[in-house]
Symmetry: C2
Subunit: 447 residues, 2 copies
């Protein structure tokens, strides 16, 4: 079966030395290709870029993506000038440039993939990334958490198509419901602000800004030739337009998971925490309140209600609710039901496997005897209460624990739950979601 | 082979219903045991505690550890009073109580283990833990990072033997060089302060204080009946006596790894960061400078030196040093050597596998072709420079990545390197170490 028969667009290789590459027909120049050429992916040395672009203009291609690096980001003046000449050629030739110094596009619907891998089933999340590494790994990192993607765009030095244009595009892209971005620096502040404002007024926008310290800024400059802007200015801008700013790449994925699966959106900051383990419960409570969420203490009546099916010895019944039996399926449903009915509780968090070694790994939590009734019970409470329920499960650091973790994650993700890899991550993501939802509610006509 | 022949102390079971348990001889009461009894581990209901203690006094035992919970921490007045009667009985009977509501001791040298598991080879780290979960998992969590343990003590409600007594004990225990502690609350502030001061003046002390928020405090009270003290007071106390306070359990392990293996102690805050990946390098730089470490920019001359063996295209040569070839063994040694000679660099960090999916998993970094020459080269630079070298390697979230991660971790740990599971964790731990070392240097006669 040819690649075309497998649903991929026609692919041609270009190299003067070969006539075929991995069975793909190969031509000396782009202009020698017999069919129509929409999209050119470039991996030749920077020195040959201009000649190639002339050829692309002749052929009438629509877009050229430069994987090739060593342009403006190298800090060499001639290379920065070369970039400008490339841009002139694109304008004259009537085509667009993506990059240079980028990994290109991941568009599952078109079966167009870059260096990375990820779910080929399309979905509502778009990602704009100044880093090729982040762009190529993003679908693979987000996929197992249930995220699916419309378009992932790595734009590198952003010579022609840049962040602003991409925000503008995704604001009205019907296939995109949530916009994520990794930004190192912004070249035209006013244009960026307008595009970000447009996007954030129409869809949830989550931004991870890299380069927030002296060394980070220097690295960003060397990475994608970014004229990085002041950290405080960027933060103020996000707040002003209603975009969610996150502190690192993992948090970007976490907040997307919260936006996508913590539904309905939480109506307040009240968290009920359920799980087994005293030390972990203390730590978890601290993590939750540190980020501005609130764990309302439960009343004597609620405690009495819980004691009908939870033991006294070895338990903490104050919110957090920790009991040895909360690692069994029978106790989880009734416990969550009682807590979900409290008006001061807006979010329920269940945690599993706090310790990296030994927290998981016995295989018990991956067994259908545990997973199926637990998930069924939690889904019922979710539906009855209309309050988001979140799982925090720690990937353990052994082969056995990883196997168990992957089975737990898959089952909860398939059931539609937001899954986080630590209590801290769950708390941070949910606090971002709550803060953002509150901003939305204050805007008339938004939800 | 009997347990005794296998090196374990004589073990007897006590239960009126059986004559043997798993092949271990079983007696109706402690006083029926024919041999000498040093240590009693109790798992009977709280209601029978007093009767048991009377029997222990008759038998002349030395210590009684109560796994049994449901005492003061339950919030029930009669149960708190029961605890006090137990203490009276211990004082009269001339024996000590550990707990109640605790998991007991892990002492590899005596082959005494609690609910957890861990390396049975003894080592210099002691752990004092108010949480049984933390105490039982601590050796398992720290073991693969190279930590070895003298004594791990879970003391639960701390009825008789408490945190203060344990700090005092470990301050002069010849088998202990580093003292770690998990504390939820302190009952006698002045006594605790004196014991902590004594310990911290003689050995590095690292404390994770649980219960730093409203909910955390409440949970701690329900967990181990702790009268938790003000967070600020605790922080001030640690600073005053020179103990290192950490923010969570993972950070506790991380700082112990830094104390144990980042040698010689760093002489300043200057970090050189080496690894492949632009996005990760930007993030890593931010993580490092956020915690108060400093990444000195490199000079034009150093950059020229690096360009003798690193490529220009796709690289960031500013500190961070990111180059595609820095994921190959050949480039790592010379790069690290150049950086280690800079007087403004005090710590070298090498990072691998930033992304949870795809960062590791190809198996390449676990192959001896990569690991052996890389570790050899890094060890040489370490020895020549006398500056600590640190590995940050991210455990990936797939079976393949976990396998690769475990092989990498094992090889670096066996070679004596401090290994951290993320750049953030490496940065935080090293910054704690630097801050603590500076305090030490300011005290005459300390190193």
């Amino acid at each position: 079966m040819s690649l075309q028969q497998a649903g991929f667009p026609a692919i041609y290789a270009v190299n003067p030395k070969y006539t075929d590459v991995f069975g793909i027909p190969c031509y000396p120049r782009v202009s020698d290709i017999p069919g129509v050429v929409d999209y050119v992916i470039v991996g030749i040395p920077a020195e040959s870029a201009l000649e190639l672009l002339d050829d692309c203009a002749v052929k009438g291609v629509r877009a050229v993506q430069f994987f090739t690096a060593g342009f403006g980001e190298s800090g060499i003046t001639e290379r920065a000038e070369l970039e400008q000449t490339m841009l002139d050629k694109a304008r004259q030739g009537g085509f667009r440039i993506i990059g240079p110094n980028c990994i290109g596009l991941f568009v599952p619907k078109s079966r167009l993939v870059n260096a990375g891998s990820g779910p080929m089933e399309p979905g509502p999340v778009a990602f704009i990334s100044q880093s090729g590494g982040h762009a190529s790994f993003f679908p693979a990192d987000g996929g197992p958490r249930g995220l699916r993607f419309s378009k992932v765009v790595s734009y590198g030095n952003g010579l022609d198509i840049d962040d602003s244009e991409l925000f503008h595009y995704f604001a009205s892209d019907p296939e995109t419901e949530i916009i994520a971005a990794y930004i190192e620096g912004v070249k035209d502040g006013e244009r960026f602000k307008a595009a970000l404002r447009e996007a954030a007024s129409r869809k949830p926008v989550v931004i991870y800004k890299g380069g927030t310290t002296g060394a980070g800024l220097r690295a960003a400059r060397g990475h994608t030739a970014s004229l990085t802007s002041s950290v405080d200015v960027f933060k103020a801008l996000c707040r002003q337009v209603g975009a969610i700013q996150v502190d690192d790449f993992d948090e970007l994925i976490d907040v997307l998971v919260a936006l996508r699966f913590a539904s309905p959106r939480p109506q307040g900051t009240g968290v009920a925490l359920v799980g087994a383990g005293g030390g972990p419960s203390v730590l978890a409570s601290d993590e939750i309140e540190k980020v501005g969420l609130y764990m309302p203490p439960i009343s004597r009546e609620t405690k009495e209600e819980l004691l009908q099916f939870l033991p006294l010895a070895g338990s903490i019944l104050t919110n957090p609710i920790d009991a040895p039996t909360l690692a069994t399926s029978q106790a989880i449903g009734p416990t969550m039901r009682v807590l979900s009915r409290l008006p001061e509780v807006h979010i329920l968090i269940y945690h599993l496997g706090f310790h990296p070694i030994g927290g998981l790994g016995g295989g018990r939590f991956a067994s259908p005897d545990f997973l199926e009734p637990t998930i069924d019970a939690m889904k019922k409470v979710w539906q009855e209460s209309g309050k988001p329920i979140v799982l925090a499960v720690r990937p353990g650091l052994s082969m056995e624990a990883m196997k168990e973790f992957l089975a737990i994650q898959e089952a909860f993700v398939n059931a539609g739950f937001p899954v986080f890899h630590s209590l801290r991550q769950a708390a941070v993501a949910m606090s971002r979601l709550v803060a953002w939802s509150e901003t939305r509610r204050s805007v008339p006509g938004e939800s």
